[in-house]
Amino acid sequence: MNIIEVKNLSKKFKGLTAVDNISFNVEKGEIFAFLGPNGAGKSTTIKMLTTLLHPTEGEMQLNGHNPVENPDEVRRSFGIVFQDPSLDDELTAYENIELHGVLYDVPRAIGRKRAEELLKLVELWDRKDDFVKTFSGGMKRRLEIARGLLHHPKILFLDEPTLGLDPQTRNHMWNYIKELNQKEGITVFFTTHYMEEADRIAGRIAIIDHGKIVASGTTQELKEKTGKASLEDAFLELTGKVIREEEAGSIDVMRMNRRMWAGKK
């Protein structure tokens, strides 16, 4: 059974086609990797699937619901870890989890029990009353994963979840996600730039470039198709070796300013 179905999906911004008529399916219980160079359309696709952006054209179904027509049903079906942190730094770890529980209408008693389980799992239980602003990048990621799972989603979206994490944390995180996938049958949809991660973890992979899906299949199939020994080489064969430029949006500019000002203090 397909838990995600995407058919002829396109997203056009002013003068730019970010996602160009893509179609793919993700089966229930699968770990699916969505790979592509910078600016290929990965995040745009995730944003459309997660109701943050409206598509220009095309059909989508998540857990049997359409993100455009039935956003709240779709929102209840997934948990997400965004590319950049989306925690409230001024709240404690536990308060962030609690707030999530209220937003997703998780009954209080159940929410408390799950929060404890999840925070213990990501090894943050003893830091639960600390402010998130005191956390390292890896700790924030772990907290976001715990938070994303609190409402028992059927699908977990991970947009470059291991960016900037050390190998220990990455390893730990993936083990945990694989376990969840096997035990709870949660479908995992992730993007990454680390090819060995996709190679090791994903059941199936789709490669997107210039808004189009250029190849999909198991890692073995992709290697055979391109006649390369590693997924990295297969990826480069499919998407070329030219370095991509990504236009900085206003948010990126602001982030840069923040870093500048933070550095001055």
Binding site: L87, L99, V102, L103, G249
Partner: protein
């Protein structure tokens, strides 16, 4: 309901935890109250207008409320930048409730700020004519705060980053404050301009309740403030519902 409550609570927690923000935002009203109050006091008296602190204090309360409210509304830009906005936008709750919770939270914070400035002005020599009208004054503070937090929210939905913040401060907030009759009595063309400024009605209501003097009358004040608040909340929630990231 729970959504509104938890987001309201979040604003309050953020406020109460940031001591430097509380103290920092009191600096400006304090400076205005003391330097203008004591500086212009004798001139005001000579001009036959009575005690300047009595006149000025309601204006400065209004000032602290408008600054804090607009800033609370504009905070959505920070949430967008720090990513927390996304967490609320992918949650299965209505955007209207998210916006309302935030706005009520911001308005509550601004009301606190107004109450603190009121206490400071009493210490500085301000004497309300009737202490019984304090609860009503606080309600009006909340109304004014709601109005401007909703305005800040609406603005934040249009602005994508903090670059435009100076623009808003210098071309919107400052003129609203200076042209509201908060610092000097309204006369002539100034009065005409002030009629189009919602803050004028807020400050007029404070003066009515605290010093028993008013231009427009309390009824008109409350009516204008309520209607404009509703308009801004509608615009704010419409723009908020259209946010795409």
């Amino acid at each position: 309901m729970k959504t509104i409550y938890i987001l309201w609570l979040r604003q309050l927690k953020r406020y109460s935890r940031s001591k430097s923000r509380i103290i920092g935002s009191l600096g400006q009203p304090l400076l205005f109250l003391l330097s203008l109050g004591y500086g212009f006091g004798p001139i005001f008296q000579k001009a036959g207008q009575g005690n300047y602190i009595q006149f000025l204090a309601p204006g400065i309360i209004g000032m602290s409320i408008i600054f804090t409210s607009i800033f609370s509304g504009i905070e959505i830009i920070w949430d967008r930048q720090f990513g927390f906005l996304k967490e609320t936008l992918v949650a299965p709750v209505s955007r209207f409730n998210i916006m309302l919770g935030r706005t009520l939270g911001g308005a509550t914070v601004a009301t606190f700020q107004g109450i603190i400035v009121f206490i400071i002005s009493v210490i500085a020599g301000f004497r309300p004519t009737s202490w019984a009208s304090i609860p009503a004054t606080i309600l009006v503070m909340l109304l004014v705060a709601l109005l401007f937090t909703a305005l800040g929210t609406a603005i934040a939905c249009i602005l994508e980053d903090m670059q435009g913040f100076q623009l808003i401060m210098n071309f919107l907030v400052m003129p609203l404050f200076f042209l509201s009759g908060s610092l000097f009595p309204l006369q002539g063309s100034l009065l005409t301009i002030a009629r189009f400024n919602p803050l004028s009605y807020g400050i007029d209501a404070f003066r009515f309740l605290l010093t028993n003097s008013s231009h427009f009358g309390l009824g008109l004040d409350i009516a204008v403030l309520s209607v404009v608040s509703l308009i801004f909340i509608s615009i704010g929630s419409y723009l908020f519902s259209k946010i795409q990231i």
